[in-house]
């Protein structure tokens, strides 16, 4: 962890403010509250993500950061407040939910590839069945993205034959095949062996450089320094502090943030 953050300090931040739109809102959360039974997991969350913005959310486990981004594509249902994604508000309307999910890609901690389908089939499934794309075109697109994550030669293998890092890169390619407007990353490197983390982070950095709107829950502070426009620190279901990465890491304001940073950055 500390090695990575040192390495990232040497790199210039790649967050030229120009790529971030100042008017076009990608995701907006207004006073979002969520309970698991009696337990209040998200409390008065207000968050506005502009198009092209890269947000990193960090915080101790159980702070609600995963729940927060899972609300963005309605894998979790919020009970109060408003979530608008790409101009569509998430309510109980199933059609709206499907529309939002089509435009929002998600990468999971445990990859969630489909083990009974080949890598190529994993990538073409949604474009063919959700976007109604012809099979040939979907395969071309899938191969394009598999090239980009540098594993085109694995296209006809099954997920179980790939390493963790390769599987996660496939998962990213699978999401990109739907040409999403927003990408969500839920601890994408937490289940990986240390030597595989970099290959996944490299793909994510590349994506950021192209101006993808990204919301990442991650503990990779090097990545946060390098690509994030904004770092959000959560604890107890609330946003404790948010700032640009330089200020966030060098000059944290809240006591809780200072404690957290001192524990993970040594």
């Amino acid at each position: 962890m500390s090695d990575l953050s040192v390495a990232a300090e040497e790199l210039p931040p790649v967050a030229p403010a120009l790529t971030v739109s100042s008017t076009d809102v990608a995701v907006e959360m207004v006073d979002v509250n969520k309970w698991y039974g009696e337990f209040h997991v998200l409390r008065d969350i207000n968050l506005k993500v502009m198009r092209g913005e890269r947000i990193v959310i960090c915080g101790p486990s159980g702070s609600g950061k995963s729940t927060l981004i899972r609300c963005v594509n309605r894998l979790e249902e919020h009970q109060k407040g408003q979530i608008v994604v790409d101009g569509k508000e998430l309510t109980n309307d199933l059609r709206k939910i499907d529309e939002v999910r089509r435009e929002v890609g998600m990468v999971f901690q445990h990859f969630n590839l489909f083990p009974h389908l080949t890598i190529l089939e994993n990538c073409t499934l949604a474009p063919i069945n959700v976007r109604k794309m012809p099979k040939r075109e979907a395969e071309d697109i899938a191969m394009h993205y598999l090239n980009r994550v540098k594993i085109p030669e694995q296209a006809n293998k099954y997920p179980g034959q790939l390493s963790g890092g390769q599987q996660q890169r496939v998962a990213i390619a699978r999401s990109l095949c739907m040409n999403p407007r927003v990408m969500l990353f839920d601890e994408p490197t937490s289940a990986l062996d240390p030597e595989m983390i970099k290959e996944v982070l490299d793909v994510m950095v590349g994506l950021a450089l192209e101006g993808m709107t990204m919301i990442c829950v991650t503990h990779e502070m090097g990545f946060a320094r390098q690509v994030a426009n904004r770092v959000i620190f959560m604890d107890g279901g609330q946003i404790i502090e948010q700032n640009d990465p330089v200020s966030f890491f060098t000059n944290p304001q809240h006591e809780r943030t200072k404690l957290f940073l001192s524990q993970i950055l040594h």
Partner: protein
Amino acid sequence: MNKPGSAFVRDSLLPARAPPPNSVGIVGWMRQNLFSTPLNSVMTVVILVFIVWAVTPFFRFTLVNAVWTGEDRQACATATGACWAYVKAYLPQFIYGRYPIGERWRVDVVFWTLVVGLIPMLIPRAPYKRLNALFLLTVFPVIAYILLTGGHHQFSGRWIPNSWMSPSPLRFAVEYALVSAAVFGVSTLFSWMSGRPITGSWRTLGFILGAFAIVLALVSLDFGLVPVETANWGGLLVTLVVAITGMVASLPLGILLALGRRSNMPVVKLASTIFIEVWRGVPLITVLFMASVMLPLFLPDGVTFDKLLRALIGVALFNAAYMAETIRGGLQAIPRGQYEGAQALGLGYWQMMRMIVLPQSLRISVPGIVGSFISLFKDTTLVIIIGLYDFLGQIQASANDAKWASPVTGLTGYIFAAMVFWAFCFSMSRYAAYTERRLDRGRR
């Protein structure tokens, strides 16, 4: 070599040598598996003695002392072995029951059509699986129905009074059209209320209703076949009709019930649970008895159901409940991440189930599903309780025939029944084991 700690370099490589003679081959295998310890050696000997003691008389009865030829009971009256002559004489009845002799070619045609359709279906490499399945599930049942019953089914309208329209088939057609229109209306209303696009469901509905109309029309056509009432069916024919219909109907129904029981919608969940628990809580004999004796009492006058049809429905629903629980077990083994992965890509519920969840869970359920199929196959013998003569029933009935009555006739019949049932069930079990291995390979 002698100096402690000195380096060692091999100057000549060792050739591979043969293993000790008593560790490989038959001797090695026996040492390892049969005589590895004194206790195991004793057990091996005891069990061998038992097998010889038990199996020898069986072979003596069925093969050595058996009577193979003969015209009537004289041949077997004093026999101490199986009376295979009797089985030979009755074989057509065991297969066709009381199906008219001149019409039995129809049963043969149906049987061989099924075999020809099924074999490429069971060979994984054979092409055109989709077309083949379509044939087996749509064309074949219609052909089988027409050939076996004779077709020329007379439909007559039920609600429109006679004075309005006189030919009853026309009345039926009009009623069918009216019902179809009503179905369209209701579905449109539902689509409109749930805010889903209407055109897609319209096309599907129109397709289903249209296909059903064609089937009804075909079934009512006169092909010049002599009608054969199901009361005259019997033997293996009835066994296979009940078993195959039961299997084909219970699998999709079971899948729907399993999904229903795991649904988030309380009404669907409750209805599925009640259905499953009610059918699982009742013995099959009771179900068949209810279908045969009680149901006609509840139906209005003039409404009659074929007895075989009632048994078919009973068996199918009964097994659907068991199938649902087997499939639910497989569904529970699929991790939440698979659902979330599918949802995050924007797949709808049915797409997610069809393409992601069911292919994985059915694979897990294969042993359970085949187990259900095998017990279903054996349970078909229970239809004798409502007076249908299946394979076993036919054998039982023939054993009392004075022409062949002898001390060994009944026993021979039962042994023959056991062998046939075993052959069917064992091949199902072996095919399932093969399928499991094959599917496992893709998974790795």
